[in-house]
C-alpha cells in the first residue's frame, strides 16, 4: 500500500502525522505516471510539482488539500504550462494566466501535477478523439474510459492522483466516472467559476471533479465554489460548508426514479443492482417515487443537445485561427493562412460539428434548428424542475452498460434514440448539480449510479450520495485497491 492509494482525507491525516511528505507523494505520482498504460497524459508537470512540494514543509491541520497532488483536464488554463485541449489547433499554446479554479486550489496549497487528455476540445464522449489517440480504461485497456474527461478519470482510477479536475457539458464527468468506478461531480451551473476553462458550450459547461469518495468531492467544492468577478455567469448564491451534513440521516428524503429512462436499460445486472440500491435507500428511511416523463420528449434529448452544443461551439472556437496563438500555417494571403491552419488544426469530426452548428444558426435555418432546440430545452427543464419540486433527487443508472469496447464508428452520430446513454444531459440543460458514484462491478468492470438534485442543493446531494456510499462499501476504488 502507498499513500497515493488513499483518499484525500486519509492522505491528509498521514501528512499531518508526518508519515508522508508532499514531495514523497509527488515522486510516487511521477513514478506511477511514467508507468501509465492508458495514454492519459498531455504534460506531466514534473519539475513544477517537485519545486512546489519542496516548499511545503509544515502541514496545515485544517486544510485537507495541503500538499495533495492533482491532475487537470487540458482544457483548463494553467499559467506557463502547455495547454492544448488535446487538439492540434492549440499546438504549443502556453496560457499566460491560471483559471480561477487553479488559483483557488493553489491558495489551498494543492499541487498541480499533470495536464491530462480529453476528447478533442471536450467534444466527445469516448476518450478516443484527442490528438494523442485513445485514452483507455485502467480496468481494461481494450475498453473506453469514456469522455470527454478521459484522462482525468483514468489517472484517478489508476491512483496516480487522488483527484482530478474535469469539465462536463453533456455528461463528460459523470459518464467516465461510471466507467472508471469513481465519484464524478458537476455542480450547479455558476457554482464554480469557469474563468480559464476553454468554452465549448457555455450555456451547458460546468467545471467539476473526479474523486474516490463523496467526502473528498465535498471537500474540493468547499475550496473552489463561489462568485468570481472574472466570470459573469458565476453565482453570488451563498457558499455552504458542503461537508457539514454528510452524515445526516436521510430519513424522509424523497428519491424520484424516471420510469421511462430506467425501462430503456436492458442489462439485467444493472437493473438488479438498481433495485437492491433502492432497497438500501428505503431501509435508510427514504421514499422512492416512480415518476413519468414523456418518452417522445426523452427522444429529443440528444438532438436538442447536439444542435445547441454545435451552435455554441462554432461561435466559441472562431478565435482559433493561429494568429494570436496555436498552430499557424503560412499561406499566400491572410485568408489562405486561416484556411490552411483551421483545415489542418481541427480534426474532421470537430469540423463536422462546426458546420452543423453554423448551419443551425443561419437566419434561414434558425427557426427549425437552433430556436427549436432551445425552446425544447425549456420544455425539458420545466419537466425536470416539476419532478424536483416534489422530490429531493432524481436517481438512475449513470449508463446502460459498463465501459464499452472501442469501435470504428467512434463518435459518429447514431441513428437511434439512445435515451439511457444521453439522459444525464438533463442536468446540464437545467444547470443542476449531479453526481455519479460507483455501485458495483460486472465482469471486473465498474459501473455507477447517478443522483441529480435541485439547483444549489449540493449539500443535500452529497448527503444522499454519502448515505449510499457508506452502505454499499464502494469507497476509494482504484485499480490498486479494487475490492
Amino acid at each position: 500500500m502507498n499513500y497515493l492509494d488513499l483518499t484525500i482525507k486519509e492522505i491528509h491525516e498521514a501528512l499531518v502525522n508526518k508519515k508522508v511528505t508532499p514531495l514523497e507523494l509527488v515522486n510516487e505520482a511521477i513514478k506511477r505516471a511514467k508507468e501509465d498504460k492508458c495514454n492519459a497524459f498531455e504534460y506531466i508537470m514534473e519539475k513544477e510539482a517537485i519545486e512546489m512540494a519542496k516548499t511545503l514543509t509544515e502541514p496545515e491541520k485544517d486544510n485537507l488539500l495541503w500538499g495533495i497532488p492533482f491532475a487537470i483536464k487540458d482544457n483548463i488554463s494553467t499559467k506557463d504550462v502547455p495547454t492544448c485541449a488535446s487538439s492540434d489547433i492549440l499546438k504549443d499554446y502556453v496560457p499566460i494566466y491560471n483559471a480561477t479554479i487553479i488559483d483557488k486550489l493553489l491558495a489551498k496549497k494543492a499541487i498541480p501535477f499533470a495536464k491530462v487528455t480529453l476528447d478533442e476540445l471536450a467534444m466527445g464522449g469516448t476518450g478516443a478523439t484527442g490528438h494523442l489517440g485513445k485514452t483507455t480504461n485502467p480496468y481494461n485497456n481494450e475498453r473506453m474510459v469514456g469522455g470527454s474527461s478521459c484522462g482525468s478519470a483514468a489517472v484517478t482510477a489508476s491512483a496516480i492522483v487522488p483527484f482530478a479536475l474535469g469539465s462536463d457539458t453533456g455528461d463528460s464527468i459523470r459518464k467516465p466516472a461510471s466507467y472508471a468506478g469513481l465519484v464524478g461531480f458537476k455542480p450547479t451551473w455558476g457554482r464554480i467559476s469557469r474563468y480559464g476553462l476553454f468554452p465549448f458550450t457555455p450555456s451547458l459547461d460546468s467545471l467539476g471533479f473526479f474523486t474516490r469518495s463523496v467526502y473528498d468531492s465535498a471537500t474540493i467544492l468547499n475550496a473552489v465554489a463561489g462568485y468570481d468577478m472574472h466570470d459573469f455567469t458565476s453565482s453570488k448564491e451563498k457558499v455552504d460548508d458542503y461537508t457539514s451534513d454528510l452524515d445526516k440521516s436521510i430519513k424522509g428524503v424523497k428519491i424520484a426514479v424516471i420510469k421511462e429512462i430506467l425501462d430503456t436499460i436492458s442489462d439485467t445486472n444493472i437493473q438488479k443492482k438498481f433495485q437492491e440500491t433502492l432497497k438500501i435507500y428505503q431501509d435508510l428511511g427514504a421514499t422512492i417515487n416512480y415518476v413519468s416523463m414523456d418518452r417522445h420528449l426523452l427522444k429529443t434529448l440528444f438532438p436538442t443537445y447536439y444542435i445547441i452544443s454545435c451552435a455554441e461551439a462554432t461561435s466559441n472556437n472562431a478565435n482559433l485561427d493561429g494568429v494570436k496563438f496555436g498552430l499557424n500555417l503560412e499561406g499566400d494571403t491572410f485568408n489562405d493562412s486561416l484556411i490552411k491552419t483551421r483545415s489542418k488544426g481541427f480534426s474532421e469530426r470537430i469540423k463536422r460539428r462546426f458546420v452543423i452548428g453554423s448551419y443551425s444558426l443561419m437566419a434561414e435555418n434558425q427557426n427549425e434548428l437552433y430556436l427549436r432546440a432551445i425552446k425544447n430545452r425549456h420544455k425539458i427543464v420545466d419537466e425536470i424542475n416539476k419532478i424536483l419540486k416534489d422530490n429531493d433527487v432524481i436517481f438512475l443508472p449513470a449508463s446502460p452498460s459498463t465501459a464499452p469496447k472501442f469501435d470504428n464508428k467512434v463518435d459518429q452520430l447514431e441513428d437511434e434514440y439512445l435515451i439511457a446513454d444521453n439522459y444525464m444531459v438533463i442536468a446540464n440543460f437545467a444547470g443542476l448539480p449531479s453526481l455519479t458514484l460507483p455501485v458495483g462491478f460486472i465482469d471486473n468492470l465498474p459501473f455507477g449510479f447517478n443522483l441529480t438534485a435541485g439547483a444549489f442543493k449540493e449539500k443535500k446531494l452529497f448527503n444522499i450520495a454519502k448515505a449510499l456510499e457508506d452502505k454499499s462499501g464502494f469507497y476509494n476504488l482504484s485499480i490498486r485497491t479494487k475490492k
Binding site: 447536439y306 494570436k324 469540423k351 463536422r352 425552446k375 440543460f429 444547470g431
Partner: protein, 98 residues
C-alpha cells in the same frame, strides 16, 4: 429551412475558414440527415412554440458597475508570447488590403 446538400455544406465550411475532403463532406451530409430527422421529433410537438427560447438555465445577475480596483495588466511581451509572427511589438499578418 434550406435543403441540405453538398454545395451548401461546402459554403458553410468555407465561411468557417476551413475545407474538407469529398469523403468528409459525404460523412457530414449523412450526419446532417440524422440530425434533421431527429429534430423533426421536436417539430411534431405542437406545443413547442409556447415555450420561450432558453439560452441560460437561470438568469445571470450581471453587475455592470463595480468599484474600481487597481490591477496589474499583462505585459505586451506576455500577450504576444504565443503569436508566431511578430514585428515591433505587434502581431504580423499578411497584407489584407492591396
Amino acid at each position: 429551412m434550406k435543403t441540405v446538400d453538398l454545395k451548401r455544406l461546402q459554403i458553410a465550411a468555407n465561411r468557417l475558414c476551413f475545407d474538407m475532403s469529398e469523403e468528409e463532406y459525404q460523412t457530414l451530409l449523412n450526419e446532417f440527415k440524422t440530425v434533421v430527422k431527429q429534430m423533426e421529433l421536436i417539430a411534431e410537438d405542437k406545443t413547442i412554440d409556447q415555450y420561450e427560447p432558453m439560452v441560460y438555465p437561470f438568469p445571470c445577475d450581471v453587475t455592470i458597475l463595480r468599484e474600481d480596483e487597481p490591477i496589474k495588466p499583462s505585459s505586451r511581451d506576455e500577450i504576444l508570447k504565443n503569436a508566431k509572427n511578430k514585428l515591433a511589438g505587434q502581431i504580423k499578418v499578411k497584407k489584407v488590403n492591396g
